[in-house]
Symmetry: C2
Subunit: 406 residues, 2 copies
């Protein structure tokens, strides 16, 4: 690492993030003008470095350094270029620009690789404009995607996609869907506090948690807060409080690592002098083992559906599920050895957030490298990672790609 190299990564991060200048946080929603300008810039950097650049129908950009002896074997790295609304400076973008930095350093230091090195700048992962996530990696891996989606302004996915992708066909760019790589390594910020809290520098991701989301509906009887005696109430809110209290205890008993979040809570009629007649609340649970999620889901049904009061009914509905994904153990072990060799304080951990890697892992050997998030904050303008930690991630990625491709 030299100061010049570090500055180049910081400079490129600034250049892309400056496209949202004057706004609150980053707003590179897929196929927006800011997104188009960002992806064009990534492509231009690839072209300037002499990489072979391909764009697919969804606007994902592939920047290749073709291999000398085994060009059909592709060693890939990358992440997504889009952000949530009012997002941070590193989520996704760090994996794209850190990967570009790694490829450039390898080309500079070691010349052409034996296998092909590929940087992927996925079009979309966050699901923050259209109601589907991971459309970039899903398209690359051949998963079906609902194309009949519209954004909140009523613009169709197809119209937005075609208009945006047509602007990426710069001179020298191939339009194509490349073959899948043999390995995929994603560099990303942790988005949580575990590394920073334990003064660690690198996280090696064992798995991406499975996730299930539910809505619990409690129906009682709305009534006068003054004239209805306490023992004659069918108070939906008090029942919801009991259910949440019990479910939280059960979640802890099933596994302390199981996350349990009641994020939404809606009361009807929501008036101070009326006993609530109905409450709907959401539960978000995540764990790296499907068996743990299965066990909790069974208890959830039991707890919610067991009658507790004669005039109150409760029900539960699961409306989202994504399976836990185990990442490649051999790739992780190699990255662990590199981290140890470089003297980086590291830990192996599961990712609580979803990533393109969980899609890629279904088709190819996949691993992830995390760097610490200051205060564990992400999806917010305050999202931050120290320069030294950003550099450690790139250093580890560079060595990992070198071992695989040369």
């Amino acid at each position: 690492m030299t100061t010049t190299q570090l500055n180049q990564l910081a400079h490129r991060l600034n250049q892309i993030n400056d496209l949202s200048k004057g706004e609150v946080g980053q707003n590179r929603l897929v196929y927006s003008p800011t997104w188009i300008a960002a992806q064009q810039q990534i492509i231009q950097w690839g072209l300037d470095l002499g990489f072979q650049v391909t764009v697919d129908d969804f606007g994902t950009a592939y920047l290749d350094i073709p291999g000398k002896t085994n060009p059909e074997q592709v060693i890939a790295t990358g992440s997504h270029i889009d952000t949530v609304k009012q997002g941070g400076r590193f989520d996704g973008l760090y994996g794209v620009l850190g990967g570009l930095e790694a490829l450039e350093r390898l080309l500079d230091a070691d010349g052409k690789p034996s296998k092909t090195l590929r940087l992927i700048s996925f079009s979309e992962e966050e699901g923050s404009r259209f109601p589907e996530t991971f459309t970039g990696s899903k398209h690359y891996t051949g998963q079906s995607i609902n194309l009949a989606m519209r954004d909140p302004d009523g613009i169709s996915f197809e119209a937005a996609r075609q208009a945006a992708v047509s602007k990426l066909d710069l001179p020298g760019v191939n339009h194509n869907l490349p073959a899948l790589p043999v390995t995929f390594t994603e560099l990303h910020i942790e988005q949580g506090p575990r590394l920073i809290d334990h003064h660690l520098q690198i996280g090696l991701v064992t798995s991406i948690v499975g996730q299930r989301r539910f809505t619990v509906t409690v129906k009682g009887i709305a009534n006068h807060a003054g004239t209805t005696p306490m023992n004659d109430r069918a108070d939906a809110l008090q029942m919801a409080v009991d259910l949440i209290s019990d479910l939280r205890k059960n979640a802890r008993q099933v596994d302390p690592q199981l996350t349990f979040t009641v994020g939404e809570f809606h009361v009807s009629p929501n008036t101070s002098n009326v006993i609530p007649g109905r409450v709907d609340f959401t539960i978000d649970t995540r764990h790296e083992k499907e068996t743990v999620l299965d066990q909790f889901e069974q208890i959830l049904h039991q707890v919610v559906e067991t009658p507790r009061a004669s005039k109150i009914t409760s029900s539960v509905n699961r409306w989202a599920k994504s399976d836990a994904t185990q990442l490649d153990q051999a790739m992780l072990a190699r990255n662990q050895a590199i981290a140890d060799h470089l003297g980086f304080r590291s830990s192996q951990l599961a990712s609580g957030a979803g990533h393109d890697s969980q899609i890629m892992a279904q088709m190819t050997r996949t691993t992830m490298i995390f760097v610490p998030s200051i205060n564990g904050i992400s999806h917010a303008p305050e999202e931050n990672t120290s320069q030294a930690d950003l550099e450690r991630g790139v250093t580890l990625l560079t060595e990992s790609l070198h071992q695989q491709a040369y």
Copy 2:
């Protein structure tokens, strides 16, 4: 009781309620066209019966049968003519028309009373158009009222009041503020389920509960539902659940009759995959003893303000308070004797809702008579009381007024 008499009360109830025909429930908001038409009709019935009718500056109507020997001693009954939005057919109106029925029966059967008999049709009690309750009885008893109020459409209280009251000065009506009565008896529906649940026919009201409303604010830290470990959260909603659970237990321990209602609950950001950073919830507590309310309020501060987690703070703010009102014990005892004599199944109970009687009781000896509410429902179009129960209330009131005024 004759069928003709019962029919007259039912007929008058229909006639006033038909003014809101085609709407959802009753909408006699103070000084509205429907309210004006209703109060004009009450006045007209009084004039037709030869009563001496007075209207005050706030639009309360006083229908008097002057006493033969002690006309300066006034025995009053009545209630309010206004309703909440989408209200029921009996709340307030039953006390006005039931009182008119009683006075008419007494005049028919016994001729002129010794003392003056007065029916009061209070202008307003519900606080459903302007942000103040009991303005009718407050004006009559000389309490100060904030006149600088506006309704949700921006119409000032003063403009609405003056325009409406000018329409009540029918020929034969005096405009004046009459002297206060020596007793006041209010006939009203219970608005709760205690009478109907216990197969009772009459409720004799010992007191009107004191009421206090609070908002509890819990501030934690909003964060990612997937990447923030369970032991590293500052989850405002989970803390709110614990507080509500503890406070409910405490309320029950202080007194099982203390009502405890969390009616409003607001979460921020209220998104399924974000740990809530802030929760605000309301508490409505009522009891007939101020000492019980004081005791709970002290515990409330203690429970909310005792720190439970390093990164979460909670605070409590009281924003409404009305004192408990003891009604006249001698008047209640006399009504109890009459109810027993008539063979009505009755109970003495505290009122959980506010009434004009709590204002009148500050200036004159006051009692209330309740009749059962079917299913305990009020402030809704479903509000209902059987014909037989309506008649029992009027019969008891008539005998009570007879004993006082003749």
